[in-house]
């Protein structure tokens, strides 16, 4: 059993006008195998939460804690967090010029598992995962995210998810910019990872569309740096119908 706990998390970001507080006391508990959807208006701090879990240096935790199976995540470096089993599929994946996807994937896998994967088995595994995500194998020769379309970048994120096998994955708007077929393919990729590794998922989205493919156990409404309400899948339907007005005015 694995558990990711976020307690009373306060986070600020450095701006030209000094530090600006964005997260104002976030509480969330995710167990392995569970899927939690986070929905909320633009600028409410969803990506900030995602980056804070991953340890992006731009965000400063001023209060609260993040625990992975009782271990203090905030004391870990970015790479230690990843090796401890946390994964972030980014809203805007970064280009790494001159570094091929195959080199990158192999390096990441080696870092996560502590030893280089056997070449034959690895090449096969990469190919199978790419086939499942309907990615052309030519992508392995391209440079990381360079010239990838929006949808290709998202598939590449989920490819990493399936190969690196984390305990918990934060998916930051992985569904944005995907066409109907890609949404289905990518969702299936996430579901396979859930089944194979009993993955816990924190799924940030603006649309209920993806929730038809990836069934959430819980839905959290994120407003102004806090969880304003939580409930089951039916809450997503209501948000889609009513919007966030109710919370924003409150």
């Amino acid at each position: 059993m694995s558990i990711l706990q976020i307690k009373n998390l306060h986070v600020s970001v450095e701006t030209d006008q000094g530090p600006k507080q964005i997260l104002r006391g976030v509480d969330l508990t995710i167990r392995n195998g569970e899927t939690h959807a986070i929905m909320g208006p633009n600028g409410s701090g969803k990506s900030t939460l995602a980056y804070s879990i991953a340890g992006h240096p731009k965000y400063e935790v001023t209060e609260g804690e993040i625990l992975l199976d009782g271990e203090n995540v905030l004391e870990m470096s970015v790479d230690e967090r990843a090796r401890a089993g946390l994964f972030l599929a980014m809203q805007y994946p970064v280009e790494i010029p001159g570094v091929s996807v195959s080199n990158f994937l192999r390096t990441a896998k080696t870092a996560i598992s502590g030893e280089a994967p056997s070449i034959r088995g690895w090449v096969k595994e990469v190919r199978e995962s790419m086939d499942a995500l309907r990615m052309d194998s030519a992508f392995t020769e391209r440079n990381v995210n360079e010239g990838f379309s929006g949808g290709e970048k998202k598939r590449h994120e989920i490819l990493q998810l399936s190969l690196l096998k984390p305990k918990f994955a934060v998916l930051d708007e992985t569904d944005s910019g995907l066409d109907v077929d890609a949404l289905k393919t990518v969702s299936e990729g996430v579901n396979r990872a859930k089944e194979a590794n009993d993955l816990g998922v924190l799924l940030i989205t603006h649309y209920t569309r993806i929730l038809k493919y990836i069934q959430p156990d819980f839905v959290h409404v994120f407003v102004a740096g806090q969880v304003a309400e939580q409930g089951g899948p039916e809450l997503a339907e209501r948000l889609e119908a009513e919007g966030y007005d109710r919370y924003v005015r409150a």
Binding site: A54, G55, H56, P57, K58, S77, V78, D79, R81, A82, R83, F87, L88, M90, P93, V94, E95, I96, P97, G98, V99, N103, F104, T107, A108, A111, I112, N143, V144, Q160, L164
Partner: protein
């Protein structure tokens, strides 16, 4: 990348600018095989301004002919010979433009000539220049890529050396040549090298300079066109560690119509007193209508205390060109790239190495010959493994 960028695009108007000495002066610079035609090497001379003379050591005094090893691997129909000054190819591709190059020229009574016959299939040639002693010496190489030939030549410099070198590179009409010069000397070595590239009608050259090892390395490639339609693609990568000085001064002299040139150099610097200099000169003469040129230099400063000088010069004497531009930028690590890699479990140190590798490998990827790309990528990985722990 976090960087300061200087860019300029030049359209159809006549335009001239650039730091330092105007380029006409460069093109009007002394060209001679006689040492006495040149001023003494001092930092008051534009071409030596960044390089303190004590870094040149024995190259400022008497030189001896190179006694190290020249190891050639080539297909049977590629021929080699030592040729004297009476050979028509001796001095055909160019003449020295600086005092040390002239001293080397005068010292060498014979040049090592590699002749590549015309052929449809690409010929792969490797020349290993190795030296084990640091007697100040001089070497003269000549490449004669015949019309319609197609070849790849990799020149590998390793060992201990204090060497002044001249390399003449003739690329015949319609010929294609990819030539790589790797400078991977021991850390006390001193090496200056002038490359004279002469392109025939519709000739194409990819010229790649890879400077990794040596206390002082200075490579000055110059390109001359002798007919229309030729294409020169000059690529360079360098990695300077603490105390290393690496200088590159590509010069493209567009004198013929409808020719193309690209100059792209990238360098990484790490450690105190790591110093690199890149001065890129492009001259488009009146007759060179329809010229298409772009030059770029980017440097990645990995630590404090390193210094990258970067000076692009572009001088245009005709309005009738396709395009001309240049860019120069020096920057530090992109934190977002490091974060992305670390978020995949890769340690900070490994992530830095990977980003630097990628930064330099972008040049290697433009070579287009897999065996050469793999080899150079390995050299760069080895250099990174040595210098970052």
């Amino acid at each position: 990348m976090n960087e300061q960028t200087k860019t300029a695009q030049h359209g159809l108007s006549e335009h001239s600018h650039g730091a330092g000495v105007p380029i006409q002066i460069r093109s009007a610079r002394v060209r001679s095989a006689d040492v006495n035609d040149f001023e003494l090497v001092t930092q008051r001379e534009e071409q030596w301004r960044y390089l303190s003379t004590d870094r040149l050591g024995g190259l400022l005094g008497e030189l001896e002919e190179f006694t190290g090893d020249l190891g050639l691997t080539a297909p049977d129909d590629v021929t080699t010979a030592w040729v004297g000054r009476d050979n028509e190819l001796f001095g055909k591709a160019g003449l020295p433009e600086d005092r040390i190059s002239a001293a080397a020229w005068t010292t060498c009574d014979a040049a090592y000539l590699i002749t590549v016959p015309s052929s449809e299939n690409a010929q792969e040639i490797s020349l290993k220049v190795t030296s084990a002693d640091s007697t100040p010496s001089a070497l003269h190489l000549i490449v004669d890529a015949k019309p319609f030939s197609n070849s790849t030549i990799v020149i590998d410099h390793t060992g201990d050396a204090v060497l002044a070198e001249n390399i003449e590179i003739n690329v015949g009409d319609e010929a294609q040549l990819t030539i790589v010069s790797i400078q991977d000397w021991s850390e006390d070595s001193i090496h200056t090298s002038a490359h004279f590239i002469r392109l025939g009608r519709n000739a194409r050259i990819k010229h790649i300079v890879v400077s990794l090892g040596g206390k002082t390395v200075r490579v000055v490639p110059s390109v001359e066109y002798t007919g229309p339609g030729a294409d020169a693609n000059l690529l360079g990568v360098y990695f300077a560690d603490a105390g290393q000085y690496l200088e590159h001064r590509p010069f493209i002299d567009h004198s013929e119509p409808n020719c193309k040139s690209r100059v792209t150099y990238k360098g990484a610097l790490q450690g105190t007193k790591a110093h690199t200099v890149w001065v890129g000169d492009v001259l488009i003469r009146k007759a060179a209508e329809g010229t298409d040129t772009y030059e770029l230099n980017r440097n990645l400063l990995l630590t404090d205390g390193a210094r990258a000088d970067s000076v692009p010069n572009l001088e245009i004497e005709t309005g009738q060109i396709e395009g001309a531009g240049h860019a120069s930028a020096s920057g530090r690590f992109d934190d977002e790239q490091l974060f992305y890699l670390q978020a995949r479990g890769i340690s900070e140190n490994e992530a830095r190495k990977l980003v630097v590798f990628g930064f330099l490998n972008e040049i290697i990827q433009q070579i287009g010959i897999e065996s050469v790309e793999t080899r150079l990528a390995e050299s760069i990985e080895a250099e990174l493994a040595r210098s970052t722990h």
